[in-house]
């Protein structure tokens, strides 16, 4: 799986539209009075849509390739993941800011005391 800026921007747009559609037209059968598995499912879909959007923002923001996150723009000459530890050696925690608003990024720096950051080659 590869990602690139154009694709991710398009995905954010599409997910926003999908979420809008979901909240306008979701049809939940059953009532509030009993166990309702349809409502459970709807809640899960709502979570997935929110989560998918954050995923895209994060992938868009991380301008490097690292692990399973492979950005087409950031690769070595022989097609391997090209990391950018100088700018992206952090864990991203995204804070929800409301529907349709870009979430806020909090960086948790990765500090290595006993090992030196290195790139592994799978070749």
């Amino acid at each position: 799986m590869t990602r690139d800026e154009t694709g991710l921007k398009k995905a954010v747009e599409q997910i926003t539209a999908l979420r809008e559609e979901f909240w306008q037209n979701v049809r939940v059968i059953g009532s509030n009075d009993e166990m309702n598995q349809t409502l459970e499912k709807a809640g899960r879909v709502a979570d997935f849509l929110e989560f998918a959007e954050i995923f895209c923002y994060d992938a868009l923001n991380r301008e490097e390739s690292c692990g399973a996150h492979f950005r087409k723009e950031y690769q070595t000459e022989d097609g391997e993941a090209l990391r950018n530890d100088k700018e992206f050696a952090y864990v991203a925690a995204w804070e929800y800011k409301g529907d349709g608003i870009k979430p806020e990024l909090h960086r948790e720096e990765l500090k290595f005391e006993n090992v030196e950051l290195a790139t592994r080659s799978y070749k």
């Binding site: 059968i29 059953g30 009075d33 009993e34 166990m35 598995q37 349809t38």
Partner: protein
């Protein structure tokens, strides 16, 4: 395959409930029984009707969430299989399949085919903890356990807590479940400190939840998807008497 389903529908614990008939047409024979219910539910939802509620989770026979009494037998009667592992190819085209919830006083119906099995969780809680030495991570195999003892402990530890033993029993007894949990730890050195307390508490909790007693009919062993032997009930009874004697 085309099947006729007679399915128990019940709004909630207070509702009387009844069997309703549904047609399941063009069902792929390689589907599991739960996947067939998924198809039926998709059609119900499309028509604006409430889907049939049933419990499910891993769908690979290890979690113990799925239940159902299929044609009168918990998990459908295929040896060593949970409902999620039961394939439609085990039935014939044109068959009528009756699907009901587990029926036991200690398992009240939540809705349709879904029952509340938290009584089993409370039995587990009553079992409590094991006391083990802390400090550093022990070396693997530091406590040597003979192979045949380890095998017996593993055989009882295979219980996934689905409750089929209760549903199959005319006394709605949870003896096979409790026995599996008690024997698992009683057979291992790690379970020795609380050995007596554990069996007394778990058996007493099972009694107070309204599960019945064992009258040696062994339906439980037959329906158990993990094929747990009733010999563990004998061990639990021995454990119980030894614990009473102090």
């Amino acid at each position: 395959m085309n099947l006729t389903l007679r399915i128990w529908r019940q709004k909630n614990a207070r509702d009387k409930g009844r069997l309703e008939t549904y047609q399941a047409n063009d069902i792929n024979e390689n589907m599991s029984l739960l996947e067939m219910l998924d198809v039926v539910n998709e059609n119900l939802v499309r028509k604006g009707s409430e889907p049939i509620h049933f419990d499910h989770d891993c769908r690979e026979g290890i979690c113990g969430a799925c239940s159902l009494v299929i044609n009168g037998i918990p998990h459908g009667g295929k040896k060593g299989c949970t409902t999620c592992e039961l394939r439609i190819r085990n039935f014939n085209d044109g068959d009528t399949i009756t699907i009901e919830p587990y029926r036991a006083r200690a398992f009240p119906v939540i809705k349709d085919l879904m029952v509340d099995r938290s009584a089993l969780d409370r039995v587990m809680q009553a079992g409590g903890f094991v006391s083990v030495g802390t400090a550093g991570t022990p070396d693997a195999n530091a406590i040597s356990i003979e192979k045949d003892v380890a095998e017996i402990a593993m055989d009882s530890a295979a219980c996934i807590g689905c409750g089929a033993c209760v549903a199959a029993c005319k006394n709605a007894s949870a003896m096979l479940f409790v026995a599996a949990k008690v024997s698992h730890l009683a057979n291992l050195p790690q379970g020795q400190v609380e050995r007596k307390r554990r069996v007394l508490n778990m058996v007493n909790q099972a009694d107070s939840e309204g599960f019945g007693n064992c009258t040696n009919q062994y339906e439980c062993e037959v329906v158990c998807p993990k094929e747990i032997s009733v010999k563990f009930i004998a061990q639990m009874n021995r454990e119980y008497f030894k614990a009473l004697k102090k």
